[in-house]
């Protein structure tokens, strides 16, 4: 148990990191790749829209004395939840920028708050970042002004959800996968495929759970990528009519065996602990907490891969305190702060050097921080848009509002 956090993390999961991977990770850690080597993803979807022309800052002035942030809960801790968990006050002390944090609950709340123009920076998930870029709410970020950016894992740099046409619009904060969790006393043998939550004849009928969000349609699409290759799904966030219908049908069929949909994680921990739920999608941090509460659960990254999230700190186009915002972006991906936030929130840090700073020495292994092969199987949340993100131009894809309508229909 880590002494610095009230959320104990138990390490029970065996790690399958091969020597080659460890080597790759070492290279990633040691390498100071400032450029767009290897990590650049030229997703064709990026050419799907042209963001408003904007210049990134060329140089930084002195701090404005404050910075207004929009953050996920747990991303900007100032010691008020746990006196030992505090990377805001050290920042204020080091830079003279007072931090005002507004915690947002959903990606859309973040988008709406950013549009008010009252905030300087936001920790946007992939299902919000593109929208902020397209609407001209977020500005390009000059990563040369952020010294710690060079230590960020290449697998996180210049990705479709944090850049457009090779221009960075923020710095990666951390990442995690949506995993498959099951109760070891109820589900045997141990599942290694998402098929266990989509099987209409499941023996666990009424005790299966799924994430309560339209973005979960991507989980079904991901499963169909291998279950029904004839559909030709290449990217679970780029679904044309036929592919989308197949995913929706699969989810409607899945609803028959669902016990409940979860959206907040205390609810899921309790459901697994009490046995109301025995199998379903989860996050690593939930698994850790459930195990800490002695629930007999295990997690795995199924053979089909998984969906996941990768958050990005972005700067508002109309930021009133851009200098302090840049300082914050540099601070949050600095090895120490990035290690603290990753441990507190339960996700893989973005900065390779953060792994040396975690209070739990094996933290980065548990969360697969250096395991690029692990994350190569993870399709990070991206906002589905009408222009297919997989590069197809002969069809239109279903956009997020249609995903939302469909989600309502799936739940019935």
């Amino acid at each position: 148990m880590r002494p610095t956090s009230p959320r104990p993390v138990f390490l029970t999961r065996g790690l399958a990191v091969t020597a080659a991977l460890a080597l790759a990770a070492l290279t990633a850690c040691g390498g100071s790749s400032t450029g767009a080597a290897g990590g650049t993803a030229t997703a064709p979807g990026q050419s799907g829209f042209n963001p408003p022309a904007m210049e990134a800052a060329k140089s930084l002035g002195s701090g404005e004395g404050q910075v207004n942030l929009i953050a996920w809960a747990g991303y900007a801790e100032d010691g008020s939840n746990d006196p030992k968990v505090d990377w805001v006050h050290p920042f204020e002390k080091a830079t003279g920028c007072k931090v005002n944090t507004k915690v947002a609950g959903t990606s859309d709340e973040m988008v709406n708050l950013m549009k008010t123009g009252e905030y300087d920076a936001v920790s946007a998930s992939g299902d919000a970042s593109l929208r902020l870029i397209a609407s001209g709410t977020a500005a390009p970020v000059n990563t040369d002004l952020i010294p710690n950016y060079k230590d960020v894992f290449d697998g996180l740099k210049l990705k479709p959800w944090n850049s457009v046409k090779g221009v960075a619009y923020g710095v990666p904060h951390g990442r995690g996968a949506n995993l498959l969790m099951w109760r070891t006393d109820a589900v045997t043998p141990a599942p290694d495929s998402w098929g266990v939550v989509f099987d209409p004849a499941s023996p666990h009928k009424g005790k299966v759970t799924a994430y309560d969000s339209p973005i979960y349609i991507a989980d079904a699409a991901l499963y169909l990528m291998s279950a029904k290759p004839e559909l030709g799904i290449k990217n679970p966030y780029a679904l044309d009519d036929k592919q989308f219908q197949a995913a929706v049908d699969l989810l409607k069929q899945q609803r028959q065996i669902i016990g409940e949909y979860w959206s907040d994680y205390t609810k899921e921990i309790q459901a697994f602990k009490g046995g109301d739920t025995v199998v379903g999608t989860t996050w690593q941090v939930i698994a850790n907490l459930a195990k800490a509460e002695k629930a007999p659960v295990e997690v795995t990254l199924p053979k089909e891969g998984a969906t996941g999230w990768s958050d990005t700190w972005m700067i508002a186009a109309k930021a009133k305190n851009p200098n302090c915002a840049y300082k914050w972006l540099d601070w949050i991906i600095s090895p120490t702060a990035n290690a603290q936030v990753a441990e507190w929130f339960g996700e893989a840090p973005a900065n390779a050097k953060a792994c040396a700073k975690t209070s739990d020495a094996s933290f980065c292994d548990t969360f697969h921080a250096t395991d690029e092969e692990y994350f190569s199987k993870v399709h990070f949340w991206t906002t589905p848009i009408a222009q297919c993100l997989d590069g197809r131009t002969d069809v239109t894809c279903k956009d997020y509002s249609e995903w939302t309508r469909a989600w309502t229909e799936i739940k019935g």
Partner: protein
């Protein structure tokens, strides 16, 4: 009458006071202007804004509002089977919660108003009010724990669990109006009914119920409308079911589609208007 008093009367304050004294209508309008402005702007204004928004649309990618008139939201709402199902389900839940609360609250309120001593009455009112001091979320999560498979009740989650939890949450809103109504009912009427040979059931049917009906209606408006708009309880104990509130929430919270959410939100408003109109026909509103 002294000179100084005469001087005081001609001061500006006194003149205003005298003017207001003579003009009762001006006095009344000044008194009501603040609450009326609040009602007009904050309440009706918000409803109007909601209704107008329902005819707009959003740019699905950037999330910006497109302020051009369209019927599309209502078309989707009317043609989609799923929205009809959800609306009917929400209606059913609201009716069930109201009935359960009525059945539990009426005997409780009767005992408080007519059977308990004045001292006990005060304590009972406090006891009924106490749950309102606790957070809504805490109470909903407490029910979640109780309903869990290894919990005290162990019923599991679903629509039934939602109805039970909502009935618990809104019970005070049903007890208090009925209690207030029954308190105003003279006990002598009950005695008179007894003297004329009516037994318990007949007294209830012909005296207590008709006289307390307006109070029952008042309580039912609370429980009905609160249940119709709820989306949190169903998220916590509803298993896989969803109500109108969830559709509204998902469209604002997840899809950023304010216009469609506004269109969906007009459904409970319409249901409430129909309900109030029906209640008005019974004449209960005049006796509130």
């Amino acid at each position: 009458m002294t000179t100084s008093a005469a001087v005081g009367r001609t001061g500006p304050r006194a003149r205003v006071a005298a003017f207001l004294h003579r003009h009762a209508r001006v006095r009344l309008s000044l008194l009501l202007s603040a609450p009326l402005a609040w009602l007009g702007l904050a309440y009706l204004g918000a409803l109007a804004a909601l209704f107008v928004t329902a005819f707009w649309s959003t740019d699905t990618f950037t999330g910006d509002l497109i302020r051009t008139f369209t019927w599309a939201n209502f078309q989707d709402l009317v043609t989609g089977d799923v929205y009809r199902t959800i609306a009917l389900r929400s209606l059913g839940v609201a009716v069930a919660v109201t009935l359960i609360d009525l059945i539990v609250a009426f005997p409780m309120a009767f005992a408080m108003a007519k059977l308990a001593s004045p001292r006990a009455q005060r304590w009972l009112v406090i006891l009924v009010l106490t749950p309102l001091w606790a957070s809504y979320l805490v109470k909903a999560y407490a029910w979640r724990v109780m309903l869990s498979a290894d919990g005290v009740l162990g019923w599991g989650y679903g629509l039934g669990a939602t109805i039970a939890t909502l009935s618990y949450l809104w019970l005070p809103y049903m007890i208090l109006p009925i209690y207030a109504g029954l308190e105003r009912l003279p006990s002598s009427l009950l005695d008179a009914a007894g003297d004329l040979g009516a037994r318990g059931w007949r007294t209830f049917r012909t005296v207590v119920w008709p006289l307390s009906f307006p109070a029952v209606v008042a309580g039912s408006i609370f429980t009905f409308s609160l249940s119709l708009g709820d989306y949190i309880t169903v998220k916590i104990v509803g298993g896989k079911s969803q109500l109108i509130g969830n559709v509204v929430y998902d469209n604002i919270g997840a899809a950023n589609n304010l216009p469609f959410a506004a269109a969906v939100a007009t459904v409970p408003v319409v249901i409430m208007l129909v309900y109030l109109a029906a209640v008005r026909r019974t004449g209960a509103l005049e006796n509130l």
